[in-house]
């Protein structure tokens, strides 16, 4: 069983809190605001009533409870790290404890994500997948841009739309699904196709633009807006079993027009060439991953590089642009 810092805070009088961390961690990261009993050598004191075990990140204690079949015992989700954050800011980040435990993310990275804003142009295969991953990761705000409606032939690859959504605007259907995943993310649905007239306004103030469209003309438009507004663009494209991802226009790094100089031609849409549903989900997730890296500032990344993935033989190739 687990308990979040907020739940513990609200029900503090019901529990005995047992800190199982070594002394060096207890000294460096003290559990202020709660009386704790110290566990010696990892043993759990025999105490009646409900107990909460605390380790640094909430992972060790979950294992202890399962391994020792402990009754009436909870593990503090996110551990002391999440409790200390909750105590100081009254912000419960414990639901993201499995990613904040990563040294490259941490609480600072999570906060950057929660302050982050991403525009996704296209709410088809790539867009649904990227949006879902970003919302589950805790992104602060998403701007979804697409004028298309949900069709039956979309459902095999566009995971945010279901049978009951056919005929709805994709951005509305996507918002409904995403809101069930994480109510903390603010989602703005823009029910138009990106165009010359209003496009630049729509992506203003975003940290990243995810290109999840299905045509070269819109990719070129996104590239232009990306350059003009100095907002990085995470390009993704599909052809049958293959996908491409590149991070473009980061502090003067190559853009889509350098990747494929005008006027590029060729390349069918998913409707024309065919696509298996897993492919856009793989590529859309890689786009979301690169967006997270950009927002938090994690390297290495795909800035100035083109990743090509082949789902048939699972080969990848990275080309320097």
């Amino acid at each position: 069983m687990i308990i979040t810092p907020k739940e513990l805070y609200d029900r503090i009088s019901e529990f005995t809190v047992i800190d199982v961390r070594p002394e060096i961690q207890r000294s460096e990261f003290p559990m202020d605001g709660v009386d704790t009993i110290i566990s010696k050598n990892g043993s759990i004191p025999n105490i009646e009533g409900l107990k909460v075990l605390v380790c640094q990140f909430g992972i060790v204690t979950e294992g202890m409870i399962i391994e020792n079949e402990l009754d009436d015992t909870y593990s503090l989700l996110g551990g002391a790290q999440a409790w200390i954050e909750f105590q100081s800011k009254k912000e419960d980040l414990s639901r993201w404890s499995r990613q904040t435990v990563l040294p490259e993310i941490g609480l600072d990275g999570q906060k950057k994500l929660m302050d982050g804003m991403v525009a996704i142009v296209g709410m088809g295969g790539l867009g649904c997948s990227a949006a879902q991953s970003l919302v589950t990761a805790g992104i602060g705000k998403l701007v979804l841009i697409d004028g298309d409606d949900v069709e039956l032939s979309n459902l095999h690859r566009q995971m945010l739309h279901g049978e009951g959504d056919i005929g709805k605007k994709k951005v509305i259907s996507a918002k409904e699904s995403l809101s069930k995943i994480n109510a903390l993310t603010s989602i703005e649905s823009i029910d138009v196709y990106l165009d010359e007239q209003y496009g630049l306004d729509l992506i203003q103030n975003c940290d990243v633009i995810i290109d999840a469209t299905d045509n070269i003309e819109t990719r070129q438009l996104i590239d232009r807006f990306s350059k003009e507004s100095n907002i990085p663009m995470v390009y993704g494209g599909l052809y049958r079993w293959e996908g491409q991802v590149a991070v473009l226009n980061v502090n003067g790094s190559p853009g889509y027009n350098e990747l494929f100089p005008e006027p590029p031609s060729g390349g069918d849409t998913c409707a024309d060439a065919g696509v298996l549903g897993m492919l856009p989900n793989i590529i859309g997730n890689i786009q979301a991953l690169e967006a997270v890296k950009l927002i938090i500032g994690i390297e290495p990344n795909l800035v100035g590089k083109l990743l090509m993935y082949d789902g048939m033989n699972h080969s990848t190739q990275i080309i320097k642009l």
Binding site: L126, L238, G267, T269, K320
Partner: protein, 81 residues
């Protein structure tokens, strides 16, 4: 003569029927000449497809003379999303 490896992606792969080709070429052959050879092998299937060329995993903006052992990738734009 020089030997080069050609990596074929997306439409190129389907047009030539292979994801990798190993070709023996005249010394002094350029990337542009190799592109024409690939387009001939594709028998018209790439006539409307623009291609970018990467030499040894790096984009090259202009035609370059190939060397023995080079790896050349032909990369078309892809639209699907």
């Amino acid at each position: 003569m020089i030997k080069v490896t050609i990596k074929c992606f997306s439409q190129v792969k389907y047009a030539v029927g292979k994801d990798e080709l190993n070709l023996e070429l005249e010394t002094g052959t350029s990337t542009l000449e190799l592109e024409n050879i690939i387009r001939e092998k594709a028998k018209g299937k790439l006539d409307t497809v623009s291609l970018r060329i990467a030499l040894n995993q790096k984009y090259i903006p202009i035609q370059t003379e190939l060397k023995d052992g080079d790896e050349v990738a032909f990369i078309p734009p892809v639209q699907g999303g």
